[in-house]
């Protein structure tokens, strides 16, 4: 289970790297907004990337910075949808 979590976190970071075009490595509890890795427009790209990477549909009602603020929160959100 722990290995699965780490694997998913790596995939989340991979999506972040794809949308930013940079080899970033944020801490799992680092705020992606405070650190400047995400803003409102980039979050839309991030969500689209997550949908593609994880094969899920993220509804508009779930679009909030609070749910996608850290890699850990994203991982928990995706685990809840699985």
């Amino acid at each position: 289970m722990a290995n699965q979590n780490v694997a998913n976190q790596d995939r989340i970071v991979k999506v972040l790297q794809q949308i930013s075009g940079k080899q970033i490595a944020p801490g799992v509890d680092e705020s992606l907004f405070v650190s400047g890795l995400l803003d409102s427009f980039a979050l839309t790209d991030f969500v689209a990337g997550l949908e593609e990477e994880f094969g899920v549909t993220i509804p508009d009602c779930d679009l909030s910075a609070r749910k996608f603020d850290t890699v850990n929160k994203v991982e928990a959100y995706l685990a809840a949808k699985a």
Binding site: S40, F41, T44, L63, A65
Partner: protein, 309 residues
């Protein structure tokens, strides 16, 4: 049938620069420009009202169409910033035009109201004839020009626009429209006790997905591609959002008419002010479809397709 026949607009004379706003909200003019694409906006004078500026846009539109107000079958007035919500400004606009029995209805939907008005007018026109759609806003009285209100104070301006939808003649035929509402997200944009509230981040998130989706739905069901569209006329909410929609649709930004740099976000007036300026700059009749789209309080959003005649 319903046709777009003419547009009109009216802007207050007072120019408010980013420098003036920046000093009030603890920001820099450069930051305002970067965040919004806005260089200046207009503010109404103390003696002007939503109805009075809406009337001026209405008169300009009728003059451009070359018809008298007595020829109107209905008036629709969109505004989210009027001082009095019931009755709203529609009746006053009608009275200002000298009409005392023509139906005049309010659409109290900030930002998306004019699009809703155009879509409704297209439905009413076959039975009522000529429908005048007006969007008028004095947002400067609904925002807080202080550091606490920075995120909205930098965006909004005042102005009015109008469109004449005609059952018989015009330069473009309104072929289709789609409107959507999601009341579960109503807290994202609302007016309460005379003050405008907006969660800007949530608006960007929602609009940057919903607008392209609505436009694509309209294009798909009319067997069109985004590349087929001559001009995209969007609610002038934020230049970055408009460019975002262009990128999502894979359309050159030049196809998206923008004037937000000069007027800021004039809420429901912006779509028709933009349409008026776009239409006035045309040197030849349109030869390809045009798309209108807006997103606003409600949440309400949608798109409208007009085809050349």
């Amino acid at each position: 049938m319903a046709y777009l026949r003419a547009f009109g607009s009216w802007l207050p004379s007072r120019h408010v620069t980013n420098q003036e706003i920046a000093a009030q909200v603890d920001a820099t003019p450069e930051w305002i420009l970067e965040m919004s694409g806005i260089e200046e906006r207009r503010y109404a004078a103390d003696d002007e009202t939503v109805a009075s500026i809406g009337l001026k846009a209405a008169q300009a539109c009728l003059q451009n169409a070359g018809i008298a107000a007595s020829g109107l079958g209905m008036i629709l007035v969109a505004s989210g910033s009027t001082d009095r919500f019931c009755p709203g400004p529609a009746g006053q606009v009608a009275a200002g035009l000298g009409l005392n029995s023509t139906p005049a209805l309010d659409i109290p939907v900030a930002s998306a109201g004019s699009l809703i008005g155009l879509a409704m007018a297209a439905q009413f026109a076959p039975t009522l004839g000529r429908i005048l759609v007006v969007g008028a806003e004095i947002m400067s009285r609904r925002i807080e020009r202080s550091p606490e209100g920075k995120n909205t104070a930098i965006l909004f301006g005042d102005g009015a626009g109008a469109a004449l939808v005609d059952a018989d003649t015009g330069f473009a035929h309104i072929a289709d429209s789609c409107l959507f509402t999601d009341g579960a997200a109503a807290e994202v944009i609302f007016v309460k006790d005379g003050a405008f509230h907006m969660d800007g981040q949530a608006v960007i998130l929602q609009a940057s997905r919903k607008l392209p989706r609505a436009i694509n739905e309209l294009l798909t069901r009319n067997q069109l591609a985004a590349a087929d569209i001559e001009a995209f006329l969007l609610h002038q909410a934020n230049l970055n959002l408009i460019l975002r929609v262009a990128t999502t649709l894979k359309v050159p930004r030049e196809r998206f008419f923008t004037n937000i740099n000069r007027y800021g976000n004039t809420s429901s007036a912006s779509l028709l002010i933009a349409a008026d300026e776009w239409h006035r700059q045309l040197t030849e009749p349109i030869t390809r479809p045009i798309i209108f789209s807006a997103f606003g309080a409600g949440l309400n959003w949608g798109a409208l397709l007009a085809l050349p005649v």
